[in-house]
Symmetry: none
Subunit: 251 residues, 2 copies
Amino acid sequence: MEKRDTYSVKQLATLSGVTVRTLHHYDAIRLLSPHRLLNGYRLYTYKDALRLQQILVNREMGMSLDAIKQRLDDPDFDYSKTLVKQRTILSEKIGSYTQMITSIDAALSQLDKQKGDTMSLYAGFNPEQYEAEVKEKWGEGEAYAQSQSRTKNYTNEDWQLIKQKEEAWLEQLKKCFLENELPQSLRACALAEEHRLHIDKWFYPCSGDMHQQLGDMYVSDDRFKEYYDKKAKGLAAFLQKAIYANSKKSM
Amino acid sequence: MEKRDTYSVKQLATLSGVTVRTLHHYDAIRLLSPHRLLNGYRLYTYKDALRLQQILVNREMGMSLDAIKQRLDDPDFDYSKTLVKQRTILSEKIGSYTQMITSIDAALSQLDKQKGDTMSLYAGFNPEQYEAEVKEKWGEGEAYAQSQSRTKNYTNEDWQLIKQKEEAWLEQLKKCFLENELPQSLRACALAEEHRLHIDKWFYPCSGDMHQQLGDMYVSDDRFKEYYDKKAKGLAAFLQKAIYANSKKSM
DNA sequence: CTTGACCCTGACCTGACGTTATACCTTACA
DNA sequence: TGTAAGGTATAACGTCAGGTCAGGGTCAAG
């Protein structure tokens, strides 16, 4: 701190890193009341500056302004008392921080356990994630980035839910297909739309266009084709057509 | 954090050291909105508890609730990375706080020399009780319960006696360590056994196993480690080894 | 004699809860 | 079966440490 003998509000404020309003406040509650010039301006002495420093240190420790006032105004101001008080505050903080650390550790180990091990769930092939990966190869990095950032915090439960929904949907699609419904039918379109919303909700924004690209991928990429055709031969193509029909309808 | 799947308001509140009102508030501002039972009661899941943990750590770092909300709701939020970062920040803070405490202690002892007034120096950290607390966190509620019920009737003189004994013992351990005794040495083992008996007598039944767990804690829990290492660097680890050696010997 | 930087007070606003009041729900026990 | 205790809910007002204007005075420089 610069060694001057007097300061204006602003000078003291900037000097000690508080706002003018704060000094006004401290004056109002008589925590730090400087002298006044004839024009009413506040004039802080070096002593005031020292007191302010004390105030700030104690405030930093989480003490209330009132308590600080009590202590600084205590006639038999006992430095050791202050120190002891600060010591206990510090040690309490340490206590709560250690507690936080232990819970963080607990959370971390918990997280390790439940961090979505998608491989085991999907037996090696996670279609929705794979989609994003393939899109990446095609230069559509955005979908991949989105998918990555969204899924990285999914828990095992989340993945299970997603998988369940997807499986239920796939069952319906299969039924629809096996019952010789046309891909343009309302029923097929509804399922296509459901699929789009599923992707959109859990993985990355999926517009109609994006969805059509996906449909194409389902027949052109062997891995996808196999995934769907394993359920029922021709299902991949059926899905693609349904997606196209749905996209047209939505426009 | 205890591993339960659901909590009531009060349960979660006490568990995480906040008030019920705070949880209500967080619900009101949609920072942490739990499910509701049919009667309208809030029901917090483990996920909620994790989120609360995040909130509290961030709050402690001086972030506004609004900013915290922003962050936690950000899809790019990487939970585990953040946890790790926070852990290091917290433990750094602990480090600097302990530093401050030691310098306060220095100042205090300086003052003590000038006056006659000692006592209450250890107002902050009482290792034996802290042990029980930590064990509680680790799920060994029995020790904590025992410790609580035994200590609640202790008088001031009792505490002084305990403290004295513990300090005397600690001095001996320090000497033993600084004189390059091995932790397997008879001398070290004797001190370990003395320590076990001390706990057993004053706080809770302490078997060899329990004692070994304690030893582990002394090196893994920063607060203990610091407590012992402040006496002599490496003392915590030394004590742990001595405890292990003593346990083996007694079997 | 104006302009811009400072200063004043007063009044209302804010964030993060604390406190109090009133009422409902659930459980234990007489 | 009733009732008392204790947990829960909402609602509404209080608090603390300032932030943010608004309206007006002061002062040195150009």
